[in-house]
């Protein structure tokens, strides 16, 4: 009985082995017939290979256009522009930061320092910065209650963004101190509010700042533009319609300071107690004198930045709906919940 069993098993094994061998031979033959795959080629397959080809073509094009560009300093040797933007929660915040990030994304060697007027980092700004693609640092510093503008206050009543800009400066000094090069590092610091409009040229103009550079700003000071007046390559006075007797009668968007100067003057910051319009002067006074200013933008004859302001959106119907309990879904992100409380 045992031998019969054994014999049967042996034949089974042999048979199985023969079948396997035949299968293997068939598979190997299939390998050889690679050109015969149109029947297996479904439309999606074709799309994938087409997309891959397109991807390679575009990458080649990018590389070619990069190569034919005028030879300039490789990006990592250009001085970095550190942009300090104070921001606060309101309805249009996400929109403002979105379009600002779209401008900054075009500028090489830019480091965006966003400082929220908030006791903690909000998810709205956190997500936006992550998705933006810009190199950034996310900070926060709340404004003291008595220094904060209340609902209904005119925008000029209290200075805005002071604590936030100072926090940005503090972080920058701390961060850069740890870098090699010490106080001799290359870089430029610019204060960019989130509702202004910046052309791409302004960033290239400011990159060569040695101490403090200045340029015209459009739509500010109750005029089409304010600007420094340049004679013989030096700033002699300021063309402005409002309080021209200030030490530095210009807007926050009209100057940039070299990183070296910021690091070598660790006490220089914005003074929240300064009278209206003197905020910029409170910072620049300790840093530079008028004849040391470097005029940019073609000897201050071109407007490359505009002090635009965005209207507050009308929410009458929203408030009416809220009263009925039918307000639009707050889960749809537009505005931080903190704002909802005061709005």
């Amino acid at each position: 009985m045992a031998t019969r069993m054994k014999l049967k098993l042996k034949t089974v094994f042999v048979l199985y082995f023969m079948v396997s061998l035949l299968g293997l031979i068939y598979a190997l033959m299939q390998l050889g017939q690679r050109c015969d795959c149109t029947e297996h080629d479904i439309p999606k397959d074709r799309t994938i290979s087409r997309l891959r080809g397109e991807l390679h073509r575009l990458q080649e094009q990018i590389r070619k256009s990069e190569a034919t560009k005028q030879p300039q300093k490789p990006p990592d040797r250009q001085p970095t522009v550190f942009v300090i933007t104070p921001t606060y929660a309101r309805l249009v915040q996400k929109a403002e930061l979105t379009r600002l990030s779209q401008t900054f994304l075009h500028v090489p060697q830019l480091h965006w320092i966003v400082v929220e007027d908030s006791p903690h980092k909000t998810p709205l700004v956190t997500d936006l910065l992550v998705k933006s693609g810009v190199t950034y640092t996310h900070l926060h510093m709340p404004t003291a209650k008595d220094r904060k503008l209340q609902e209904g206050d005119p925008s000029w009543l209290k200075p805005r963004g002071v604590e936030q800009r100072n926090e940005g400066l503090r972080w920058l000094r701390e961060d850069r101190r740890a870098q090699p090069g010490g106080d001799n590092q290359q870089g430029v610091v610019y204060f960019a509010d989130d509702d202004n409009t910046y052309s791409l040229q302004i960033f290239e103009e400011m990159r060569s700042t040695q101490r403090v550079s200045v340029w015209p700003v459009g739509l500010v000071g109750g005029m089409k533009y304010e600007r420094p007046v340049v004679e013989g390559g030096k700033v002699v006075r300021f063309h402005t319609g409002w309080r021209p007797s200030r030490p530095f009668p210009m807007d926050m968007a009209g100057f940039a300071v070299s990183l070296k100067l910021v690091l070598s003057n660790p006490e220089a910051c914005f003074d929240g107690e300064a009278p209206m319009g003197f905020l910029e002067s409170s910072f620049l006074q300790g840093l530079v004198t008028m004849d040391e200013l470097e005029p940019k933008a073609d000897n201050c004859s071109k407007v490359l930045v505009w002090h635009t302001r965005t209207e507050k959106p009308k929410m009458k119907r929203e408030e009416a709906l809220h009263a009925q309990g039918l307000g639009s879904d707050p889960a749809v992100e537009l505005v931080d919940f903190i704002q909802q409380r005061s709005g």
């Binding site: 598979a27 075009h106 002090h307 929203e318």
Partner: protein, 335 residues
């Protein structure tokens, strides 16, 4: 002894099969799987394999856009792709102090979008140098048109609506230009979007509208006195109404920035234009859309109209009191 033979036999059987399996695994994914032609990226599908396949396909498309966007950052605009549909962005504009600023930041946004064609229509008698130079220096793919809105529409005494809404004639001119330039039979795929120069657009919006087959819609922030207005979408993914307070019974209660139209649809209905006169406030968009599509044909985008990707921001009119009568600043300096 028999045990060893058994082992040898088992090894001899298993080895060819493992070889076979590895060979099959390396070849292209078998055609035994899905044959659906459905392009839509919805999650429902018959088998897990087919879904993974479709997703990898749509991911490939997105991958290209992502690679192009992140790698080209300093070369603008992105190189032209032969696969992506062209987005024709129609922007009416008019001279005012903030015009250059608005167009600059809008252009900074548009420079990130691949395969974009900007049609800028000025409300002026002649093309201004400001806009001409701006367009030339930006590097965008553009078309510069102009048509002046007649100031004297009150003559006919149409008291109910004496003035035509701003930008209408300009948008109609752009539509006419598209119809004259592109042939309905041989045109490449294209999408038409009306973008005003003071709104804010996220880059995601342009990718959402690229897959428009007829007319696609999405929410818009800060319109109609609300945080946002949006179309009402049912569980089947179809638009059945409008979530607005201001006249939700309009045929299309949507803002100009809230929809995009496939170019082929525009070309195939050459009579469809924005109605010039006799249009009540808020009915402008309906005047065009009702000629093109019905409510049921609308395609909801932005995650079934739950995400806000465009904001109807408005820029404050700058205070220019210090200019005085004669103008304090040099008028030769362009702002």
């Amino acid at each position: 002894m028999p045990k060893r033979r058994d082992i040898v036999a088992i090894v001899l059987i298993v080895l060819p099969w493992t070889l076979l399996i590895t060979v099959w695994h390396q070849s292209t994914i078998t055609p035994l799987l899905a044959s659906q032609k459905d392009d839509r990226r919805d999650g429902r599908s018959n088998s897990r394999n087919t879904f993974a396949f479709k997703e990898s396909c749509s991911l490939q498309n997105r991958d290209i856009v992502e690679v192009v966007r992140t790698e080209y950052v300093y070369s603008r605009p992105p190189p032209w792709s032969d696969i992506l549909s062209t987005i024709h962005v129609i922007t009416p504009t008019y001279s005012r102090p903030v015009q250059k600023a608005e167009l600059t930041r809008l252009a900074n946004t548009l420079l990130h979008v691949p395969n974009l064609h900007w049609i800028l229509v000025e409300d002026s008698q002649r093309r201004t140098t400001l806009v001409t130079h701006l367009l030339r220096d930006m590097g965008l793919n553009y078309t510069h048109l102009n048509v002046e809105t007649p100031r004297n529409y009150k003559i006919r005494g149409d008291t109910r609506d004496p003035r035509i809404p701003r930008g209408t004639i300009q948008r109609n001119l752009a539509l006419r230009w598209l119809r004259e330039t592109y042939n309905v039979n041989s045109s490449q795929p294209g999408i038409v979007y009306f973008a005003d120069d003071d709104n804010t657009y996220s880059l995601e919006l342009f990718e959402e509208m690229r897959s428009t087959k007829k007319v696609s819609v999405w929410p818009v922030a800060f319109v109609g006195g609300l945080r946002y207005e949006s179309p009402k979408v049912n569980t089947l993914g179809k638009v059945y109404g409008w979530k607005t307070v201001f006249d939700p019974h309009r045929p299309f209660a949507i803002d100009m920035a809230g929809f995009a139209v496939n170019l082929r649809l525009i070309l195939s209905k050459p009579q469809a234009y924005f109605k010039l006169r006799g249009v009540k406030g808020g009915y402008q968009e309906s005047s065009l859309l009702k000629e093109l599509v019905t409510l049921g044909d609308l395609e909801p985008k932005a995650a079934n109209c739950t995400k806000v990707l465009v904001w109807h921001t408005r820029t404050e009119k700058p205070v220019l009191v210090n200019e005085g009568k004669k103008g304090f600043t040099d008028s030769n300096v362009e702002i």
